[in-house]
Symmetry: C2
Subunit: 204 residues, 2 copies
DNA sequence: CCTACCGATCGGTAGG
DNA sequence: CCTACCGATCGGTAGG
């Protein structure tokens, strides 16, 4: 029984929930309980609507996951390209690339948790495409490290091992970071950027 | 219709599946699809029995998860205490502690994936207890780093941040390590142990 | 170890 | 946006 105010003239005005709100609620719950641990009824409840009403804003539960993961990985790569555009110096690039990646995991914790926990629940071909995007990022980091080794700035036995370590320690920030904690996201990101350089044995 | 051989004399001999086999099948599937993404029927199918027969070897699906997580965290702490027992030197201790932790994540990938992905699916009080065990490990690593800072071996602004980074980069080995890959588990563990010292700015 | 079966809940559709 | 409803599957029990 909707309120009998002026808006009842336009039928479209009855819509109380947007697709963005559905995605946001799904993101929160997927991050909290995992994709398979979340029921559509819980997403609906959080929005104050009934389950079937969700289908006005999405095609399926799977599509929700796919949208969230694709958007997150797209943003990660955009961040990366922005971070390395300013300089050709591998030291500057690795610091900047690690900084934005670490920063994103502190400021977008839910997205990070879902991507890392539930990407494997995606159906093909999305699964393969998402894996390819992550690999693209990893290869780009590795290539920076290899250039750093070549020019003598870094000294690390295996660039692949180092790039995995750097990326994954950053990912884990999403597991423990708290906005109301003792350190800001920027402080953590700066510190992790230095960790990355140390892993590569950069003696600044 | 069991084979009509000699073993049919003893009724107990009909048992074809052990609790260990159930746990192992659950471990494989939980690691692959997550706890909520795995049905008991899939565990049974993998063992060649019917779903209700599983209940001869377990009390509930939840108990399977609880058993797996508790055993893994117990082993992690046992590893840790064994690794740091030989020396009081923070450098030696951090290297050894990281080495065994990294090694475990290369050799026990399934356990690591389940602990990291599905511990949050545990009911209380198991959830709190498992979190406490992980925190215990983290505090122990942090304490080694702090002692290293005090005696001048390490130079890192924040021991907590460093311990998180070291532990989580090691955890991630379970995500990418392959037994048939180019590096042995021991080689990876040794390399990560050096990464840990570098993060703490140990200038060996 | 099995068959037979349970209530609950799942994602999703029909139709308004 | 809703109610009414669907078949499928879930974890688990009864009883042998």
């Amino acid at each position: 029984m909707p309120p009998t105010d002026t808006q009842s003239a336009a039928p479209e005005a009855r819509q109380t929930v947007t697709s963005e709100a559905v995605l946001d609620a799904a993101l929160t719950l997927f991050a909290e309980r995992g994709y398979h641990g979340t029921a559509l009824s819980q997403i609906a409840e959080r929005l104050g609507i009934r389950t079937p009403s969700l289908y006005n804003h999405m095609r399926s539960k799977q599509e929700l996951l796919e949208t969230l993961v694709a958007a997150t990985l797209r943003d990660v790569l955009t961040d990366f390209h922005g971070a390395v555009a300013d300089s050709e110096d591998p030291v500057v690039q690795l610091r900047a690339a690690t900084r934005v990646y670490a920063l994103r995991h502190a400021t977008h914790r839910r997205e990070a948790l879902v991507v890392n926990r539930d990407t494997t629940s995606l159906p093909e071909p999305a699964l393969t495409e998402m894996r390819e995007r992550r690999r693209e990022h990893e290869r780009a980091i590795r290539s920076i490290i290899m250039r750093g080794i070549e020019c003598g700035a870094f000294a690390v036995g295996n660039a692949g091992l180092a790039s995995f370590a750097i990326l994954e320690m950053s990912v884990s920030i999403a597991r423990w970071f708290r906005e109301d904690g003792p350190r800001t996201a920027e402080q953590v990101a700066d510190e992790y950027a230095e960790f990355a350089l140390r892993i590569c044995r950069y003696r600044g």
